[in-house]
C-alpha cells in the first residue's frame, strides 16, 4: 500500500499529540487542575489516527467518554480542548460540557458522550443526512467493546444496514468495559462477528498498527462514499491507564499490561517509519519537541483563560 509521506508524518505527529496530551491531562488531573471524570486514550492512539486519516473535514464522527484521541484526530484544537477540561469559558463548550461532552460541530465532531451506547443512533442520523442530501460524506462511529452490548448497537446497525447508510462503526476493543472483561460480557471472541447479523462486512484489525487500521478504514470509507453502506471494523487494542483516572485496576494483572506495553503503537510505528525511510530519528525528535510545545501552549492558554461567570449557567439551554 502506498501512503503518501505527508500522511505518514501526520499520523506520527497525531499519535504523539494524543499521547502527550493524555499524559499531560493525567498530570494536571492529579494536580487538581482539571475536573470531573477523565478517561484517557493512552495506548489506543493508532485507532483514532488510522480512522481519521481517511476522513475529510466535512465527514462526521461520534465519540465516546474516552474521546480526546478522536477529537485530536479529527482536527480538534488543543487549546480549546484543554480550556474545556479546565472548566474555562474559552473551552470548546464554554465550560458546560467537560471531557465527556467535548464537541466541535464545525469539524463534524458530534460530541464525546457520557452515555455508553449513546453515539450509535446519532451516527446513523448523520449518515441519514448524508444520504438524504446526496453528499458523499461519511460518519465514523467510535465505540467500545462494552458499548456493543447496549441495545442501541443492534438498533443502529440494523438501521444503517437496511438503508445502506455511510457509517463506519469503529469498535475499539480494549478488552474491558470498566472492570468487566470482554470474555464475560459476550460469547463471541470478536465484536466484528456481529456484523453478520446485519449482512454487512465485519473485519478485525490490529488496533495498535496504525497502517492496518488506516487500510481497513480506507476500504470502508470507499464503500460508504459510493453508497454501498456500513462496515464494522474491530480494532484490537488496550488502554494502558485505568478506566478513569483514579481507577485502582484490580480486575487485571500487571503481566497483561506488560504484554500489551510491548505492542505500544507508537514505538512500533517509529520502527516502521525508519524502516520505510520516511523519517530519521532526528526528524522524529523534532516532532516530539514540536508536540510538547503545542501541549505546553495549550496548558498555558487554559490556565490563563477566564472562568465562566455564574450567570452563564442559564445560557444555551434553548436555541
Amino acid at each position: 500500500m502506498a501512503v503518501e509521506k505527508e500522511k505518514l508524518q501526520w499520523m506520527y505527529k497525531n499519535m504523539l499529540t494524543i499521547r502527550n496530551f493524555e499524559e499531560k491531562v493525567a498530570e494536571l488531573f492529579a494536580a487538581g487542575k482539571c475536573y470531573g471524570f477523565v478517561h484517557l486514550y493512552v495506548g489506543e492512539e493508532a485507532v483514532a489516527t488510522g480512522v481519521c486519516a481517511n476522513l475529510r473535514k466535512e465527514d462526521y464522527i461520534t465519540s465516546t467518554h474516552r474521546g480526546h484521541g478522536h477529537l485530536i484526530s479529527k482536527g480538534g484544537d488543543l487549546k480549546l480542548m484543554m480550556a474545556e477540561l479546565f472548566g474555562r469559558r474559552t473551552g470548546y463548550c464554554k465550560g458546560k460540557g467537560g471531557s465527556m461532552h467535548i464537541a466541535d460541530v464545525e469539524l463534524g465532531i458530534l460530541g464525546a458522550n457520557g452515555i455508553v451506547g449513546g453515539g450509535f443512533p446519532i451516527a446513523v442520523g448523520a449518515g441519514f443526512t448524508a444520504k438524504y442530501k446526496g453528499t458523499d460524506h461519511v460518519v465514523a462511529c467510535f465505540f467500545g467493546d462494552g458499548a456493543s452490548n447496549q441495545g442501541t448497537f443492534h438498533e443502529a446497525l440494523n438501521m444503517a444496514s437496511i438503508w445502506k447508510l455511510p457509517v463506519i462503526f469503529v469498535n475499539e476493543n480494549n478488552l474491558y468495559g470498566i472492570s468487566l472483561s470482554q470474555k464475560k460480557s459476550m460469547n463471541v471472541p470478536d465484536v466484528a462477528a456481529r456484523a453478520a447479523a446485519y449482512n454487512i462486512p465485519g473485519l478485525v484489525v490490529d488496533g495498535n498498527d496504525v497502517l492496518a487500521v488506516y487500510e481497513a478504514v480506507q476500504e470502508a470509507v470507499k464503500r460508504a462514499r459510493s453508497g454501498e453502506g456500513p462496515t464494522l471494523i474491530e480494532c484490537k487494542t488496550y488502554r494502558y491507564r485505568g478506566h478513569f483516572e483514579g481507577d485502582p485496576t484490580v480486575y487485571r494483572s500487571d503481566e497483561e499490561v506488560e504484554e500489551w506495553r510491548k505492542k505500544d503503537p507508537i514505538p512500533r510505528f517509529e520502527a516502521t517509519l525508519s524502516q520505510m525511510g520516511i523519517m530519521t530519528e532526528e526528524q522524529m525528535e523534532k516532532i516530539r519537541l514540536e508536540v510538547s510545545e503545542m501541549i505546553e501552549e495549550a496548558v498555558k492558554f487554559a490556565e490563563e483563560s477566564p472562568w465562566p461567570s455564574p450567570e452563564e449557567v442559564l445560557e444555551d439551554v434553548y436555541a
Partner: protein, 324 residues
C-alpha cells in the same frame, strides 16, 4: 452507638438481607470485584459469590428487565444502575413494565424488586452524570420512591424496600455517601412512607430531601443565631409521601420552604407544595417557597456547578422571605 457511612450502611443492609433470604441478590455493572462504581457493593462478592453478586454487561435495559422477570417469578433482585442518569436507557422496563405489571394483571403479580441508583451533582461530572430525576418516578403509579439522607435511614429503608412486594426506586445521593451516622448492628426497618423530623422548630418548616437535608440543617443552625427557629422535615420516601407529618409541621409553623437539588420546575417540591396548598391552605401565613436547581442541564465547570446546586445561602434567603 457505632457509626457508619451511608455507603457502609447500605452495604450492611444488602449483606444482612442476603444472609437472611437466599432469594435476595445484587445485579448490575461492576458490582462484583470492582465493588460498584461508588464502592457500595464492596466485598459482597467475597461472601456471596458471583451467583448472587452478578456483574452484567453494559446493558441497563436488560439489567432492569431481567430483574423484573426474576422478581415476577420468585426472586428479590436489588439492581444497581450506576448513575441515575443512565436510567433513561431502561425507562420502558421501569415505567411500562415493572410499574404496571401488577395492575395490568388485575393484581395477580408481585414485583419485589429494588433499583438502586446514584443521583446528584457536585463533582463536575456534567450533564449526564449528575442529575436528580426522582420526580420522574414519583409520577408513575406502581412505583415507590425512596430517597434517604442519613446512614440510619438508608439501612432501614433499604431493608424495607427489599422486603416490599413492589418495585422500589432507591435513590442515593453520591455526595453524601461518606457522611457518618449512628447505625445499629442488628437488622431493623424504617417504614416506607414515613417522614422524619430532623430538627424541631417553631417558626418555619423546611421540607428537604437527601443532600439538601444537610444544607437545611446548616441554614437552621445559622438562623437560630438570629432567633429564627427552623423545623427540618425529611420525607425520606417521596412515593408514598407522608402528607401527615408535613402537614402537622405546617400547622405548627404556618410557613414552608421546600428544598431539593432536582430542577425546581416540576420537581418533587411541586407536588409537595401543591399538597400543602390543598390540605393546609388555611394554616399558611405565607406562600409556600421552593428552592431547587435552575431549569438547565447540570453544567461541568465548578464555577457553574456551584451556581447550579442550591446553596445554604439560597435556603437562608428563602426562609427569610417567608418569615419576613
Amino acid at each position: 452507638m457505632r457509626k457508619l457511612t451511608i455507603r457502609a450502611a447500605i452495604n450492611e443492609a444488602l449483606r444482612q438481607e442476603m444472609r437472611r433470604d437466599p432469594n435476595v441478590y445484587v445485579i448490575g455493572e461492576d458490582v462484583g470485584i470492582f465493588g460498584g462504581c461508588f464502592g457500595v457493593t464492596a466485598g459482597l462478592i467475597d461472601e456471596f459469590g458471583p451467583e448472587r453478586v452478578v456483574d452484567t454487561p453494559i446493558t441497563e435495559s436488560a439489567i432492569v428487565g431481567n430483574s423484573l422477570g426474576a422478581a415476577a417469578t420468585g426472586l428479590r433482585p436489588v439492581a444497581e444502575i450506576m448513575f441515575m442518569d443512565f436510567v433513561g436507557v431502561t425507562m420502558d422496563q421501569i415505567f411500562n413494565q415493572a410499574a404496571k405489571m401488577r395492575y395490568m394483571f388485575g393484581g395477580k403479580a408481585k414485583i419485589p424488586m429494588v433499583i438502586r441508583m446514584a443521583c446528584g451533582a457536585g463533582g463536575s461530572a456534567a450533564a449526564q452524570h449528575s442529575q436528580s430525576l426522582e420526580a420522574w418516578f414519583m409520577h408513575v403509579p406502581g412505583l415507590k420512591v425512596v430517597a434517604p439522607s442519613t446512614a440510619y435511614d438508608a439501612k432501614g429503608l433499604l431493608i424495607s424496600s427489599i422486603r416490599d412486594d413492589n418495585p422500589v426506586i432507591f435513590v442515593e445521593h453520591k455526595f453524601i455517601y461518606d457522611i457518618e451516622g449512628e447505625v445499629p448492628e442488628e437488622i431493623y426497618t424504617v417504614p416506607l412512607g414515613k417522614a422524619d423530623v430532623k430538627r424541631e422548630g417553631d417558626d418555619v418548616t423546611v421540607v428537604a430531601t437527601m443532600a439538601m437535608v444537610y444544607k437545611a440543617l446548616e441554614a437552621a443552625e445559622e438562623l437560630a443565631k438570629e432567633g429564627i427557629s427552623v423545623e427540618v422535615v425529611d420525607p425520606r420516601t417521596l412515593q408514598p409521601l407522608d402528607n401527615e407529618t408535613i402537614i402537622n409541621s405546617v400547622k405548627k409553623t404556618h410557613k414552608v420552604v421546600v428544598v431539593h437539588e432536582a430542577v425546581k420546575f416540576a420537581g418533587p417540591g411541586a407536588e409537595i407544595a401543591a399538597m400543602i396548598a390543598e390540605e393546609a391552605f388555611d394554616y399558611l401565613d405565607a406562600p409556600v417557597k421552593r428552592v431547587g436547581a435552575p431549569f438547565t442541564p447540570v453544567p461541568f465547570s465548578p464555577v457553574l456547578e456551584q451556581a447550579y446546586i442550591p446553596s445554604t445561602e439560597k435556603i437562608i434567603a428563602a426562609i427569610k422571605e417567608v418569615v419576613a
